[in-house]
Assembly symmetry: C2
Homo-oligomer: 503 residues x 2
């Protein structure tokens, strides 16, 4: 007993020395991990995790939170996110910082701020030391965050060039959403490019710049599109691009709230498959992005955010299972690129009250609901009725349903009716007016108003349809995890990780 006390005291003293060494820029000399998971929740600030925990707790009816996997990791810090040329960052600059340890300009993908020099990423360093490398995302695999780990391009919109960089990387596994623009014809191939892409139509592409998926095949990659093929992937399979458009519905995984259980491949399954493919005695590095938390936050849609956070956290859970089997060799980091929406667990009209469980009455994402509004509009342009808009909102958000505790005030009903009129009459000119933008952003007015009112009744407020500069929590467990404590910059997260990954 006394011996243990002495050991602990000595531990504290030496840990203090270690922390001081770190603070003064001295090199970390501890053990290094062999298996590295780098989770990035796009748009996931402190509030996004907390709302999910408050909601899960509220469903259990105890007035307490139910903790996510990742919020329980023992080492926690915060970091600032500003880009070189803007205080509120974007996913490209933030992804570059988290991947390379360097600040860059908005929209730049792992190049310096002047867009001249490529910056080596931690994933490339992992590859170069002999680790297997995997990149997983719930959005398209050429999107800014995943791209920042394998591509070097002056702008995130160069999707074709980014997709060429993907196969150039030589990484062992890509999983998640599809390619946005595999063709080099200068047009953004936005609709079902993957679904329409057959494996035998090379001839059709003759006169175009070479399709980046063909290039990938030439470079030894195998594409996996179906659940059967995905399920059949096994240890030893090399250079896999599992972007599963058939199951995942195209460019990105469907929102968790819109998914039919078992039908789509989840982020957790992509992560689990990654472990199966990458696990080897030399080590691996896997980046996993929950990319649609951000999108749902842009739309101020809390119910969708929560399900995205939970899906992301399930993927962390898979890594935690692996960690428990290899605690002496594994590092898990959970970070985010920035917060989106200025989400808070409190809303003025609700004063000091919260009713998070009310969010369970929303049964579709903002995106799916907007499709329904569009469909109605197409059918009823000339003869729309206010009550139809309210009925739609009642069906999918529960708003106006007294039995669900979601009775509308006169003010709220007026807000919805007005928004519905705007939805029907919506045109581009409206967007330019600041009052219109503050109310609806660039979203369908009825959709965003329904999201707002349900959030408000739950006790959730939003300040923006864009990113914010509020610092981001980083959580870590495992070998070297203690380096991710304290207050740092997003570049410090990458620098510390690079110190652990680089040979």
């Amino acid at each position: 007993m006394r011996m243990r006390s002495l050991v602990l005291v000595l531990g504290i003293v030496l840990a203090t020395i270690a922390v001081q060494a770190q603070a003064t820029g001295k090199k970390y000399q501890g053990a290094k991990p062999k298996y590295v998971f780098y989770f990035i929740g796009d748009g996931m600030g402190l509030s996004q995790a907390s709302v999910a925990e408050a909601y899960l707790g509220a469903l259990e009816g105890k007035g307490e939170i139910k903790k996510l996997n990742y919020s329980q990791l023992p080492h926690q810090g915060f970091f600032t996110t500003y880009a070189l040329n803007r205080f509120i960052t974007g996913s490209a600059a933030a992804g570059t910082a988290l991947a390379t340890g360097h600040k860059t300009t908005i929209n730049t993908i792992s190049m310096d701020g002047a867009k001249q020099k490529p910056l080596t990423t931690v994933a490339e360093m992992a590859r170069d030391r002999g680790f297997k490398v995997g990149i997983v995302s719930s959005v398209s695999i050429d999107h800014a965050t995943p791209a920042a780990f394998y591509a070097h391009q002056p702008t995130r919109n160069m999707y074709y060039e980014i997709s060429l960089d993907l196969s150039k990387s030589g990484f062992d596994y890509f999983g998640g959403g599809g390619f946005k623009k595999p063709d080099g014809d200068g047009k953004l191939d936005d609709k079902n490019s993957m679904a329409n892409f057959g494996m035998d139509d090379e001839k059709e592409l003759k006169d175009k710049e070479k399709n980046s998926k063909l290039v990938a095949k030439e470079r030894g990659y195998r594409f996996v599109f179906s659940r059967t093929d995905f399920d059949n992937l096994k240890k030893g399979d090399k250079k896999i691009i599992a972007i599963a458009p058939e199951l995942a519905g195209g460019k990105s995984l469907p929102y968790a709230i819109d998914q039919k259980p078992g039908e789509n491949i989840s982020l957790a399954e992509f992560t689990q498959k990654g472990i199966g493919l990458l696990n080897n005695t030399e080590g691996f590095f896997m980046m996993v992005e929950g990319g649609k938390i951000d999108w749902a936050c842009h739309a101020n849609d809390a119910a969708t955010v929560i399900q995205e956070v939970v899906q992301f956290d399930n993927a962390v859970g898979v890594a935690m299972d692996f960690y428990r089997k290899h605690p002496e060799e594994t590092l898990i980091i959970v970070a985010a690129d920035h917060e989106t929406g200025g989400m808070a667990l409190g809303f003025s009209g609700k004063h000091y009250e919260s009713e998070f469980a009310l969010l369970q009455h929303q049964n579709v994402s903002y995106e799916a609901f907007t499709e329904k509004v569009k469909k109605y509009k197409k059918k009823h342009k000339g003869d729309y009725k206010k009550k139809d808009g309210l009925a739609l909102v009642k069906k999918h958000f529960g708003l106006g349903d007294k039995s669900k505790g979601l009775e509308l005030t006169a003010f709220e009903q007026k807000q919805l009716e007005k928004a519905f009129e705007k939805s029907i009459a919506y045109d581009k000119k409206m967007k330019s007016k600041d009052q219109f933008y503050q109310l609806y952003g660039s979203y369908d007015p009825l959709t965003v108003t329904a999201c707002h009112i349900l959030c408000q009744k739950a006790g959730i407020g939003w300040t923006s349809y864009s990113h914010t500069a509020t610092p981001i929590p980083v959580r870590a467990i495992g070998v070297g995890g203690e380096l991710f404590s304290g207050y740092m910059d997003n570049t410090d997260v990458a620098k510390r990780l690079i110190g652990l990954v680089k040979k």
Copy 2:
């Protein structure tokens, strides 16, 4: 060099053991601090610190932040704040949690949730082990947060009973704002009770319940009201209540933004004086509250919040100076009771831009500005002119001044004019309407609209006039500081601290 590496590796390993011991609920066996500073920023969430850092950075024009003292402390964690009977806490329940390690009900001061049993506070434990104890606050010293450290009352509004508990505590030093209700006559003594209180008017109080300041005197306390007496306080002076109403302007210290430099005693000076009075070979415990961060957040007044945060941080700076002289014996914790206002570093109408430096053009607090509106209203009730309202806003917020980069859009000008009309016509009935409340809370409409518009132009958004349930950062440095890492509950903060303070 090699030896140092070994020491560091050993340190990390042993620190991991220590962290694991903590995570598995094993008792902390490390060294204990002799000097403990417990800073509590009322209403101070992650954003409040970040906005201050972004503002200070923006004034230097580098697009980077300028770090506060307290955000640089090496050990950082987050904690949840919910009360026993409400998810969004209040200062009494939160103060009780931070002082005793127990959850309680809203408005209860260091008693159990049923308001039956007193809960021993960490300050009382410190006293009982022979530490000298000090309590400092920028708001009245009987307010919920400081009271939670020395009083045990069923409700925070029992200011008279709380002030009796104050002198019963036997603590060595109280500094900051005055007593809200020293008289036991059943009336809340709201206006200048301290300023009117002479030291020789015991006779006037004969027929009342005994004035709590007289009780304090009988219990051996000495009141200090003037800067001269305050400056003359010296080591060895015992049982001091330095609530300085003459200099501090009554019940609470003036807002930093309204203070004239050197005229008022600052929170940092109260802290410095506390060190001078409490420092002794047996040890001390001092709680220092920045109480008006919360108040300014309730009013959504970012410029005032920033100056309050800086003033609070200056007090932390004083403790840091002490820590540097006694690093092996000192612990500093910086926490908060809850976030207020749902503040975020991003506003919808500003999209991805921020201009924090614009806040420098606000030259009074919301409170002082409201006084100006009231004065105008009194004088011009029948014949007010819109342009007068706009002129007042321009003078004190810079809004409408093109040369300051604060030109108003037509929409903003309309918002201000409408608010000014409401300010003039303001009555209680308006407050009940939810639309009115969402726009103005319970504040003067012109004041809060001016605060909102300036915040919006700076790129700051708010979601509430109340507290929120967004988790709170805790930062620590010094002996035992590593215990305040990770994700915990507000009661855990106190439990860990109690473990370090209790003999």
